[in-house]
Symmetry: D2
Subunit: 304 residues, 4 copies
Amino acid sequence: MNYQTIFDTLASEMADVEDRGHVATYIEALSHVPPDRFGACLIDHQEAEYHLGDSNESFSIQSIAKVLSLTLAYRTAGESLWRRVGVEPSGNPFNSLVQLEYDGGIPRNPFINAGALVICDYLITEMPGVLDVILDLARRLSGNEQLVYSQEIAESERVSGFRNAALVNLMKAFGNIHNDVEAVLDFYFKLCSIKMTCRDLARTFLYLMNNGLQPGLNERIVTKSQSKRINAVMQTCGFYDEAGEFTFRVGLPGKSGVGGGILAVHPQHYGIAVWSPRLNAKGNSYKGMLFLEAFTTRTGLSVF
Amino acid sequence: MNYQTIFDTLASEMADVEDRGHVATYIEALSHVPPDRFGACLIDHQEAEYHLGDSNESFSIQSIAKVLSLTLAYRTAGESLWRRVGVEPSGNPFNSLVQLEYDGGIPRNPFINAGALVICDYLITEMPGVLDVILDLARRLSGNEQLVYSQEIAESERVSGFRNAALVNLMKAFGNIHNDVEAVLDFYFKLCSIKMTCRDLARTFLYLMNNGLQPGLNERIVTKSQSKRINAVMQTCGFYDEAGEFTFRVGLPGKSGVGGGILAVHPQHYGIAVWSPRLNAKGNSYKGMLFLEAFTTRTGLSVF
Amino acid sequence: MNYQTIFDTLASEMADVEDRGHVATYIEALSHVPPDRFGACLIDHQEAEYHLGDSNESFSIQSIAKVLSLTLAYRTAGESLWRRVGVEPSGNPFNSLVQLEYDGGIPRNPFINAGALVICDYLITEMPGVLDVILDLARRLSGNEQLVYSQEIAESERVSGFRNAALVNLMKAFGNIHNDVEAVLDFYFKLCSIKMTCRDLARTFLYLMNNGLQPGLNERIVTKSQSKRINAVMQTCGFYDEAGEFTFRVGLPGKSGVGGGILAVHPQHYGIAVWSPRLNAKGNSYKGMLFLEAFTTRTGLSVF
Amino acid sequence: MNYQTIFDTLASEMADVEDRGHVATYIEALSHVPPDRFGACLIDHQEAEYHLGDSNESFSIQSIAKVLSLTLAYRTAGESLWRRVGVEPSGNPFNSLVQLEYDGGIPRNPFINAGALVICDYLITEMPGVLDVILDLARRLSGNEQLVYSQEIAESERVSGFRNAALVNLMKAFGNIHNDVEAVLDFYFKLCSIKMTCRDLARTFLYLMNNGLQPGLNERIVTKSQSKRINAVMQTCGFYDEAGEFTFRVGLPGKSGVGGGILAVHPQHYGIAVWSPRLNAKGNSYKGMLFLEAFTTRTGLSVF
């Protein structure tokens, strides 16, 4: 499969598509991103890299970082992790409190905000200096030693993060948060503010394409079963209220962020990241979803 | 891969597992099924068949029939079908009215009861004698000319079907049901009462393993894209409130029924059906799910 | 207190008020009512009558009839009635299914549609020819022997009554409806189609002003305790999602209907009925509520 | 009406009633209250006092203090207050987040926790040193110069107050909280920790029996219209999820607290306070409600 040819063909096609999305504005610092950026990077099972557009420009990965925190928590806790968070799609907007109250403080899955906050709480308890631990892991997986989070964006998230504060307090009322509310929020906002390029993203999560073993590093990140299961959770829960739509149109497990990035994985074949800041009404990259749909249509391959 | 050896090994292992499930009783006629039956049948991409236990005994396929009605509607309507029903997981019990009211009468997906009822309504409008049409299709796909529905079970469902009647009436209030309420319910209950064996099931849905082309018949049932998309909807929505759990544990697109049957598909590899009447708390076959989890673990293969 | 003077003063004031309401259109036959009609009638504890405008023109009393059916059921069943329906405000739009599902098929109160349907079901079981029984009661209470229901409106309600059909079916699924769905709906739609004038209404419900004893007839309709409790339920539940607002602004127990009528009672003092067909966004008479607010403000008296 | 005779008769009757309630334990400091205390005090329109049992022992008035904060806010803001909080019953448990999210951050009424927190936020903005202001008002109204709040209980509430913190954060996300989250919570917990005796309570709220004018002080606390409207809101919203039940059984506007106190008002007749610490399942005093029901039954008078 000549991925580069497909990339180039799609690049010219996508250029003609009107971008109907809108840059996220509820986090003030995010709203400054140049809205017309577009980048993509694919790394295949032999570590060959394919690039398109702004693939080496870093951006705020936002919720894609939840795959990293889930990975770290899952390999530490094993299956006991699922006592505190479920694996079911939420069927509701991404930060709704309704479901959480109905389910007694147990978030539906680790990718909605509530679930990611519980994962953060778990990690704070388990590992001192957890922010450094997760940044070190991200640097090792991506091979990018300069990888950092944006203090400016983290602070901007805090200023508008009252809904997340409500989630943590509600879960603490239910006994599913063990640390101080502020400590959990602080780590969560910094985690979401990690900056990566498309290339960083595609490389970081290659272990999910490769049964848990990171190519290049030749290091086991998670077990084969865990790798499969993280992909499964991405498939059913990775796109907020649009998980079914992404599965339906793209057919790959993936995870999006409100910074406009999308990570997707075709197990045994490749990892791919795309970035386009304007979001559709459900909070996922408008052109990013179109690009990935066109890409799997063109290759004729998906997990289905 | 020697599927038969795996079947035989799992058979002896499963025999030792306590069945914590319970036979469905809300449909009176279903409660008479012998609870200890267990059967499985796998048909691979070369049409080789593998059997286990009661694989040739027919049972009520119940909601698995919704894959058949979706197939028929999708290939008739094309993508316009999705104006009347969504592709998102429901995140709620399988016959909840809450979500439907919130979403203005548009069911979340074609596999919850509300969605299947809309599909039935569409088919009644489009094809006269729709029950014969769908039975003919099932006979041709399965190669079983004797295939019928159970009049006794259909009537038993009607007697306890007030919740489904509520769903149809509510959707008619929203304008998403075009035919008489009773006509829609009548067709729906008969559809759910179709009886098949594990072998019938595995063979009927082989086109979903084969990009839409039915092996043996060499007939195109749906397009490649439609086949992929039906699998995608099964992956995210095929198990009521347990779709995430099935994806997480088994890793294949599939569909279950309260008769105790489960159909699953590994695209390009095989179709598989399993039957064990006792259900877990979420309404899916208790041993059926265990068996499929053990099977994909043993083969080491899933879509992820 | 010179009620007639207040009536006349308010009449000229109300004439200058822009009517921002809209005639109900979801029941086709209701939409033909002349929208500018306005009538009021007050009958005090000495049976003196005060009239204003179109007080002797009959209209569809709609949900106000639920006070009549509740009265008949309550005096028959006594306190056991409350096993099948509650006395709490609904806090939700008047025909929502959500609350009903949450509460296991027990409607919150007898004035939301679900609760009134349960009352109808109870009456059908208890008294053969219930429609004649309730019409006879209405004729005796009002002293209007010509009182009838409108067959045209009843049929028009049936045509658009799928949401009510959904409610009855859902409650039947929960076991809280004992008769045939169609029989319950048929009685309910006829009950809501009873026609009365403002004078009929004010007189019919005088027993609620008089501790359960109907003046003129000198007949006990309900016990003193029951009379007080029906008033209490009207106070907290009589105005759909606007019960608090009516209590806040008017300060009397009352009941409205989508035909534009409102009945209110000042215990020991008077019964009052007002009619103005245009409804506010919550489904209550726009000018009717304004008039009653101005009336209790002018008299300086309310239950509070 | 000889209130003392009724008090004495009911005292001996209530002594034989098994108390099926349970002392509130979610606030640790509240759980130490002697569970068998029982007191009542009635003050009539001529300021005559009637006492029963532990009527001069102080207890934590908890949510009854919300009538005081509403009074202070209402007379300051006038009708503009209702832009930030509604007057409709909640139809849901007393601290549910669901309704709040549905209604865009506007609490249903000033007596559910969310609404009382908004009132606190308003008061903090409007008056420096608001805690002293409200304590001064309580002392003047009750005539008890020693009246204080319990620092121990306020701190105990903070420790278990994560659900209230969730409410404030959620409302701040919607823009309906203007001050710091901690400042609002701090004032709210101290307000709820005010201690009064039954006599203090009955006297403090006499203005609600007297069209807004405080007897004895001869001071206007609120306008006649405001007094009526506060009573109206108590009638429909004063008892959490049991407002309809209290209205149905007792027939007076009132307000309860989880400390076991209940305040009720019969306009133009009397104010009454009762205290019995064991609560029913809905969080209202078990014997307190029984006592008030028996009392209004015996007097034969209520607002209905």
